[in-house]
């Protein structure tokens, strides 16, 4: 038996195994942009696009009525599939939205003769209405439930797409009319979310459950390939939104000089022929792929932050990095916070006023015992922004003058609070701290527990309960089984209302108010603010609501992580993925590679 022969056979076998995989060679594409994101979308059905990963794909495969302007900050809405901004009646209850003409769905076997047809107002009505069919398993129904006239009766009648919804209908082929039960200024924002993207009924019915992997839309790109590692998209040649008006997109020749976008003004977009979106959850691999040139951008993992930064405060990239790459440091449009379960009488609301105030003291003591700066340093390289309350600094309603005492560690005050309300190791309640089973989550628990025991809350008073799946963690919160938990909240629109709804009574678990905070005064003011248009009165109300949450010690927080983006010099873009979006991808252009 010759080993050489065996080795040859083995190598041959490996080559055969390798050859089984055929690269999708559908001709060379001229301009290719390879975008890396840190997670994978589960489904490409707009009705499931509730996170940034699916949104990134969905807004590029489908059209939404509105979108955010490319470069304007603060974020500003612009028409997308709509031909202009909505016309809202004086009382704020009737919205009229006109559609752009000659927009076509992509060709697909779902249509007669495989030929895509024009997008009309009834497609908008269908796309919003299907959220209320249980078979859709929508993640976005909550955005419009209870807001549209006659919607509930229509749902009770079976959510039949052939029946008319009184408050949501097509006035003509190109005009959608929405009638509301109460003013809902955020409606325009919901229509810029991927969840509201316009789908053709033919495709939904043709593909059934498989619609989630067979997108048929009218967006700037078409899907060519999709698996666990990447999605490959091709330019939709029928997509025509005219020329890019840089000034309208908020281009400031001075502020954006570095980006090199000037030459794109007046050109028709999208500019790239092929868009690859790589799903690379693992930080080191993402970084290595970027350095090796396999992808064109990277969101720098915290562990690597020191390699690219010269100084943390003020945040400055190192000169070598600045020279080699485009750089961007921006806070996430979202935050992480700890919350208490206010429905638990051991720590939350209590009918007895004295116990209620003792419970509040305990929560406040725990808040003063926790060290956000330490959390920031150990897990976010000290780059996160710690702020009091739940209105993050990127919003207009953020109050820079707000006392930051609630986020500072003060063990002295924590101890005296406990003492003043006669909390002793014996009387302290047993609390369940819920976490998702990951290394960081477990370490964060140990850090939290260590900080609590430093002010005299013994280790055995805090019991961890870990969940291997996000679904089970959510269920425990929904069933109010956890007393204390860490959660992240990503803003879907740039308005403090989206954050403050976390404490609105009627939203109590299983709704977004996971803390089951129940304060009638808060609810009253929240309802008043929600109906208001943007303005000073609304901002003042938001700030007042924020302070109520801080005063009641409902949460411990908060912290917004800072994202560091790098991209290769020859790529002309601003890769802002906040507001659950990937709208910038249609404006990406590739120059000559160095």
């Amino acid at each position: 038996m010759s080993f050489a022969r065996a080795a040859c056979a083995a190598i041959a076998a490996m080559l055969i195994l390798a050859a089984c995989d055929q690269p999708g060679s559908d001709g060379r594409d001229r301009v290719v942009y390879r975008h890396a994101i840190d997670g994978m979308p589960a489904s490409l059905d707009p009705a499931h696009a509730a996170n940034v990963y699916s949104s990134t794909l969905v807004v590029n495969l489908y059209d939404t009525l509105f979108r955010y302007r490319y470069l304007s900050r603060p974020y500003e809405l612009a028409p997308n599939l709509a031909s202009g901004m909505p016309e809202v009646s004086e009382d704020g209850l009737t919205w009229t939205i006109r559609l752009r003409e000659n927009v076509r769905f992509a060709d697909d076997p779902a249509f007669p003769d495989n030929r895509g047809r024009e997008v009309t107002a009834s497609d908008v009505v269908y796309s919003l209405g299907r959220h209320f069919d249980p078979a859709t398993r929508s993640q976005g129904a909550w955005l419009w439930r209870g807001k549209i006239t006659g919607l509930e009766e229509w749902i009770d009648g079976g959510a039949d797409p052939d029946r008319r919804i009184p408050g949501l209908h097509a006035a003509d082929d190109m005009t959608v009319v929405i009638e509301l039960t109460e003013p809902y200024p955020q409606l325009a924002h919901t229509l810029a979310m991927a969840l509201s993207a316009i789908v053709p009924r033919e495709a939904v019915e043709h593909y059934g459950r498989e619609f989630g992997v067979r997108p048929v839309g009218s967006g700037p790109f078409l899907l060519k390939q999709f698996d666990e590692t990447r999605a490959v998209l091709k330019r939709n040649l029928d997509f025509d939104r005219g020329a890019l008006d840089l000034a309208a997109e908020g281009h400031d020749p001075q502020r954006h000089a570095e980006l090199g976008l000037g030459s794109l003004d007046g050109e028709a977009y999208p500019f790239i022929d092929r868009l690859e979106i790589h799903f690379i959850a693992e930080p080191t691999t993402r970084w290595n792929s970027f350095v090796a040139g396999e992808v064109d951008n990277v969101m720098v993992p915290p562990e690597q932050a020191d390699r690219v930064l010269d100084s943390h405060d003020p945040l400055r990239f190192s000169p070598e990095i600045e020279q080699r790459y485009h750089t961007l440091a921006e806070p996430e449009a979202g935050f992480v916070l700890y919350g208490f379960n206010m429905a638990n009488e051991d720590i939350g609301h209590h009918p007895d006023e004295q116990i209620d105030s003792a419970n509040r003291a305990l929560r406040c003591a725990m808040r003063q015992a926790f060290d956000w700066q330490e959390r920031n340093d150990t897990f976010y390289q000290g780059l996160g922004q710690v702020f009091p309350g739940v209105i993050p600094p990127f919003l207009d309603a953020f109050d820079p003058a707000l006392d930051a005492g609630s986020t500072a560690r003060d063990p002295q005050q924590a101890r005296s609070l406990l003492q003043a309300h006669e909390w002793t190791p014996e009387t302290l309640p047993q609390l369940t701290y819920g976490l998702e089973a990951s290394v960081h989550q477990r370490q964060m628990f140990e850090q939290f527990r260590a900080r609590m025991s430093a002010v005299g809350i013994p280790q055995d008073r805090l019991r961890s309960r870990s969940f291997a799946s996000f679904g089970d963690f959510s269920r425990a919160i929904a069933n109010r089984e956890l007393d204390l938990f860490l959660m992240g909240w990503t803003m879907a629109w740039p308005d403090a209302q989206y954050a403050l709804q976390l404490f609105y009574g009627p939203n109590a678990a299983p709704g977004a108010n996971s803390f089951n905070y129940d304060n009638p005064e808060f609810d009253r003011l929240f309802e008043r603010a929600a109906a208001l248009e943007e303005g000073e009165e609304r901002t003042a109300l938001y700030r007042q609501l924020n302070e109520m949450v801080i005063d009641d010690c409902v949460h411990i927080g908060s912290l917004s992580r800072t994202r560091l983006h790098l991209w290769h010099r020859h790529v002309r873009m601003l890769p802002d993925r906040e507001m659950l979006g990937g709208y910038f991808l249609r404006f990406v252009d590739i120059g000559a590679a160095p």
Binding site: P301, D377, T378, E446, R449, A450, R463, R465, A468
Partner: protein, 290 residues
């Protein structure tokens, strides 16, 4: 050039004997460390943050600290007790279950009882090991002993198979026949005559399960479905997987060396036990990947 060696004499070179002695000493050292933890003599402060983030080894922290500033040595020592707890609980329980079911099946060889036990065993063996353990651990989630139970349910089959085979062999040797002819009941035969003769097989199997349990704990903790609210080498290794990206290797080195030492010592002891007690039995299925 190859010379034909004498094969009849079972040689025991001194070096092999010495390896065994070292293995025994190492095992005793681990046990002592665990005893200290149980008695509260040391390492009960494994959860405390006593230093700064990723501190280098110093007089205060002999092996440095982890991301949170916890002492790595203290955590490694505390994990020793966890390893013994997991290993002993699983080894003992699966030996009892596997021993009893195996002996019953072997004694009633060919009867419906035997068929039923064989069916149960075959069913469990047919489900890929980690898939089974993960599924059980998941099903019992939140239960403090979920992982232990998962391993017991998965591990008893090997013991049962060996015990069943051994029981059948003993049964054929004649003296069970004699006892049965003398009017002994089945339970009397199993407890009085069979089990005492199975002790050596059980001992070897228990040691092997002990090793397998410790290794499986590491994998499960690494996957995030291991122990609750505790410290173990598996949890330390899971942390280490993240530390390595930031260029921190201490957690990894310490946890893997501790784990390696105990598993190696226990494996060597199991080998010796096997050779001494019954050179013919060979374990076949145990955890091949782990």
């Amino acid at each position: 050039m190859n010379t034909v060696r004498t094969l009849s004499v079972h040689k025991r070179p001194w070096s092999v004997v010495r390896t065994d002695h070292i293995a025994t000493l190492v095992a005793i050292a681990y046990l002592a460390a665990a005893l200290g933890v149980w008695l509260g003599l040391w390492a009960d402060n494994w959860a405390e943050i006593t230093g700064t983030m990723w501190a280098d080894p110093s007089a205060a922290h002999w092996l440095g600290t982890n991301r949170l500033g916890q002492d790595i040595l203290v955590r490694a020592v505390a994990s020793t007790a966890t390893a013994f707890e997991v290993g002993l609980a699983v080894a003992l329980s699966s030996s009892i279950i596997g021993g009893l079911l195996g002996a019953v099946a072997g004694h009633f060889n060919g009867s419906p009882v035997d068929e039923l036990i064989l069916w149960l065993k075959g069913t469990i063996d047919a489900i890929p090991f980690y898939l089974l353990v993960v599924a059980i651990a998941f099903a019992l989630q939140g239960h403090a002993m979920a992982m232990h139970l998962a391993m017991i349910l998965a591990f008893w089959t090997t013991t049962a198979r060996v015990v069943r085979a051994e029981t059948i062999r003993i049964g054929q040797s004649g003296f069970i026949e004699a006892a049965r002819a003398g009017g002994s009941t089945a339970s009397r035969i199993i407890f009085r005559h069979l089990l005492p003769n199975l002790v050596h097989v059980l001992l070897v199997q228990a040691t092997l399960v002990f090793v397998a349990a410790i290794k499986a704990e590491v994998v499960l903790s690494f996957l995030g479905i291991g122990l609750q609210d505790s410290i173990s080498w598996g949890l330390m290794l899971a942390e280490a997987g993240q530390d390595i990206m930031a260029g921190q290797y201490m957690n990894f080195l310490v946890a893997s060396l501790c784990l390696f030492g105990l598993v190696m010592a226990a494996s060597l002891l199991a080998d010796r036990l096997q050779d001494r007690l019954d050179p013919r039995t060979r374990h076949q299925r145990s955890v091949d990947i782990g």
